[in-house]
Symmetry: C2
């Protein structure tokens, strides 16, 4: 029964009596459910609870043996955590990896890292795996679908392959969706039902969390906001259109603009950095801005203005209760945030922005693995016979 | 029990045996539910069903005495239908009315029209009232909230007042939301779960239908797409911003542009029409386009291009399975539709538009009252003790 396991996962051990009260279950119903979950190996007795007057009640807890693997594949990184039933990390691995190496090489490396955790005694067997990939996913089929930056991954049977390898349920989702789930579980959007998680990294994407959970759209590509046109006469995008949000503001776009500003001499801070390196990244722009370099500050503000315009439109459309900004470029920090806020508040109707916080992700780099762990455990819980 | 009543409302009388099969109810459960609904006055026996072999089963039907009032308030019109439990109209009234007269005058006129229906024997008492208004609504509180074109209506207790007057449950919603519900019930979106209903009238709004029903957002103003900026150097909008979609394309914007084109002599068709009237409307532009007037065709295409750009962004964001175009300006017909389609298909990712129909409303003028009747009956069904 999903609510019992979720409560124990998220809030820790609790007495039978309190669990029954909290979930509104009758005593016989609770007893039979607890028995079933103990038998399935998901729940364990955990001693006696402190007395509430009357008979003392036994504590129940999520089973200490449970293990979930959480995998967050980025365009250029692999993040893995193995967590227990409370979703506490027992092992964590992070390394650079180019998603364009293709599914065989990348998933092989995932298996190696998980084997390492196993060899180190972190787990004996996994109860579920959750994995996020940087592209559109058919959530139902557990496969990436036409992912633009993932050559070789189209319709690759990620779920089937991992499920066979680990003998457990597997859930595959888009990287931005798992970040939204993570932020809702343990970050700034905790207990917020309707919010947008905007990831600004190499590209730009949006996780849409509505009351019932992540909204994925009909084909699983909801939230693909990186290709919304913001400038009809803007640069050509990797998708073939012109002036997409992602083509004017993203990690890739910022690196391109920084390089131009360094070479033209417009930005001394960037020119100095380029002299010491082979290229520039968003980090250089952030550092230059922190030093007061005008071009760097302008680049961030201009990007924030573009993104803000798109978010203002989405606020008018979706009327969310929070916007969370995450991903690598969230490091651009408060200059970026100030510009986004200014545009959103100016361009949306007062009714929709009256109580609308626009905030940075709290989990930052861990949002993805956290969300993957949540989805993995939910999937395992749902499949208990 | 909602599913039983909805099935009888939407599909008509059915044998007990078939009803049980269809909803997956055991015989004792079905018997007790049917008994309860008969007692509540919502369900009636309707003779014997044709034999399916074995014992003949009795037919059950929605109670023939049920009456719902459906009210669709537009910026400049009142539409009312009184319907039976199958939502078949028994009386219909439509008349011009300026919403700016304020809630007392408008709701008084609604009462007069309903009293007329009663006097004509259409109903003895109402089981629920559904009403749509042209502005944002707090669905939970049953009141309009800061509606821009409805002076005097802010937080006016529409639900409370109508409930007291008619002694039945009342549901208040935004006009575009009820149109979406109507189109889903009896129009082109029948059986489609995730779609956008775009109303182009005096203003522009969007009803968002997701799996669970209408999505209203946190403050009830989701779908307010008329104030998304499409042209930073565009005309000033009634909301005080510049270049809102509604300021460049809507009934009001089209009338303004048509007048300019008539006066400048750029459009002979419009000049001719203006000579015979005191002003121009979207209808004149539609007629001019049908006659081949180039300026009229351009006005429609330019509007379709602007709206198409916004819809392309929303398709990227929400990944719906259908877009329905309704409202008064849907009369601009296939020139408008062709332009919208062209922009949406060109500007959105192939995955999201692979199976995306962009179609005209089938119910057109009746979408609003149809949806109001659906919401009214749902509300009555939900409140059965």
């Amino acid at each position: 029964m999903l609510p019992i396991l979720r409560a124990l996962r998220d809030d820790g051990p609790v007495s039978r009596a309190e669990l029954g009260d909290r979930l509104g279950l009758t005593r016989p119903r609770l007893t039979s459910e607890v028995e079933r979950l103990v038998k399935a190996g998901f729940l364990a007795e955990a001693g006696m609870a402190a007395s509430r007057g009357g008979r003392r009640s036994t504590l129940v807890a999520i089973h200490p043996r449970l293990r979930f693997a959480a995998v967050d594949l980025g365009a250029s990184s692999i993040d893995i955590e193995v967590v227990n039933g409370r979703l506490e990390p027992l092992a964590a691995y992070r390394e650079p990896a180019d998603i364009r190496q293709g599914p065989k090489a990348i998933l092989h490396r995932v298996s190696e890292l998980l084997a390492k955790a196993r060899a180190e005694g972190v787990y004996e067997r996994l109860d579920a795996v959750g994995i996020g990939v940087p592209g559109p996913v058919s959530f139902r089929d557990g496969v990436p679908v036409s992912p633009p930056i993932m050559p070789g991954w189209d319709r690759y049977p990620v779920r089937e392959l991992l499920a066979r390898e680990h003998g457990c349920p597997v859930v595959v989702d888009n990287d931005v969706n798992i970040m939204a789930v993570g932020e809702r579980h343990g970050g700034v959007a905790r207990s917020v039902d309707d919010f947008l998680f905007v990831k600004i990294g190499t590209g730009i994407g949006c996780g849409i969390h509505l009351t019932g959970g992540v909204y994925r759209g009909v084909d699983g590509c909801a939230g693909d906001i990186g290709h919304i046109q913001v400038d009809a006469s803007g640069p050509t995008c990797s998708c073939g259109n012109t002036g997409c949000l992602e083509a004017v503001f993203s990690g890739a776009a910022l690196a391109r603009d920084a390089l131009a500003a360094a070479r033209s001499g417009a930005s001394p801070a960037l020119a100095e950095r380029l002299a010491k390196a082979t290229g520039l990244t968003a980090k250089d722009v952030a550092d230059g801005a922190a030093e007061g370099d005008v071009v760097c500050i302008q680049l961030i503000r201009e990007g924030g203005r573009r993104l803000g315009g798109v978010l203002a439109a989405l606020v008018s459309f979706a009327n969310p209760s929070m916007i969370v900004i995450g991903g690598g470029l969230a490091q651009l920090g408060h200059v970026l945030l100030a510009e986004i806020r200014s545009v959103v508040y100016r361009r949306s109707l007062p009714l929709a922005t009256g109580n609308l916080p626009v905030v940075l992700s709290e989990l930052s780099g861990r949002a993805g693995v956290t969300g993957a762990a949540v989805l993995a455990s939910d999937t395992a819980f749902e499949q208990i016979p």
